[in-house]
Symmetry: C2
Subunit: 195 residues, 2 copies
């Protein structure tokens, strides 16, 4: 069994690797421990890695000129997180990515990822599937933002990602769902009052 066996388990759900391929793949990753409140991405720097979370949780967000922040993504165990645009297009980041808890990630550099994809068709397939799933996920979110009310978006989120609701602060969830923390508080209390 290789060192980074969690990432190997993960990729094997999409493509079947030989033991040797698994070693090559996992060797491209580096394990890094991140303390709560530590940033792994900051605006204006070009993001140099894609990160797979093995322990803990993260939040990616942007801050606008009025100081308002909007959560773009969450990640817990088995999820990936980075500033996607910055990483993929190798241009300066616009987001912060911060640890919400003490965490452990496996990070792969942009260059190593490119090399993996070139060297083995299966690795290319894996990243293709990842990107497709990411796009499908984002499209669902766009649809939910366009068609649902604040309360419906919240209920929808609870249904789909109950584990995340438990672990992230309310203000972060509110800004992910496109509402204020006050409004989310009212939605929640209205519901519990009914019971």
């Amino acid at each position: 069994m290789t060192i980074n066996n969690k990432i190997v388990e993960y990729i094997n759900r999409s493509v079947n690797l030989t033991d040797q391929e698994a070693d090559v793949f996992s060797a491209a990753f580096r394990e890094v421990k991140i303390k709560k409140r530590q940033f792994i991405v900051q605006p204006n720097f070009v993001v140099k890695s894609r990160n797979f979370v093995t322990e803990g949780s993260f939040r990616a967000y942007v801050v606008d000129d009025k100081g308002q922040d909007s959560t773009i993504a969450f990640a817990i165990e088995d999820w990936w997180i980075t500033d996607y645009n910055s990483y993929i297009l190798q241009k300066p980041a616009t987001m912060f990515v911060v640890a919400l808890e003490d965490s452990v990630i496996l990070e792969i550099s942009y260059e190593k990822e490119q090399a993996l994809k070139q060297q083995n068709h299966k690795f290319e397939t894996f990243f293709r599937i990842r990107a497709e799933r990411t796009a499908a996920f984002m499209q669902q979110r766009i649809i939910s933002n366009l068609t649902l009310s604040a309360e419906e978006r919240y209920e929808n989120f609870i249904d789909r990602y109950p584990q995340i609701v438990q672990r992230v602060p309310q203000y972060a969830l509110a800004s992910y769902l496109g509402m204020t923390t006050e409004f989310l508080s009212r939605i929640r209390n209205k519901k519990t009052a009914k019971k």
Copy 2:
């Protein structure tokens, strides 16, 4: 030069194909003419093709239980359109895709696409890059939906996609931007009044 040379030109911007590879790739596509107001995707059917627009324009949208429709995507020449979730995950569509003008598309079936990706690493790379760009694009849209006011979203859209603004009906653009056609009308008239 192959029959479907437009798709070959397009893929050659991402990966360099030999003449023979270009022939194989373009042979997987079929040209189809679509009349204005004709649907190429309807809810509840599993989408069987990904479509590259060579002439004309399309609009993808969902309709909610109150009969409100929300535009999910537009496509003009050199863009792709389908119900992404349905196609990628091969599950029933939730969207309509309709021609806004008399149009011509090059369609590739799900099975043929899978075969292309398996048979040649370069084709896999092409679809991986496509998916990444799609995800990057969608993320930008999510950020714009979360951080901008209705008027700002409209101005942002004009800056980025002036060619599209000219060609799509106002109600479709409004529902893409997440506002009513009445409100977009007011935004536009406020601006022209100022001049």
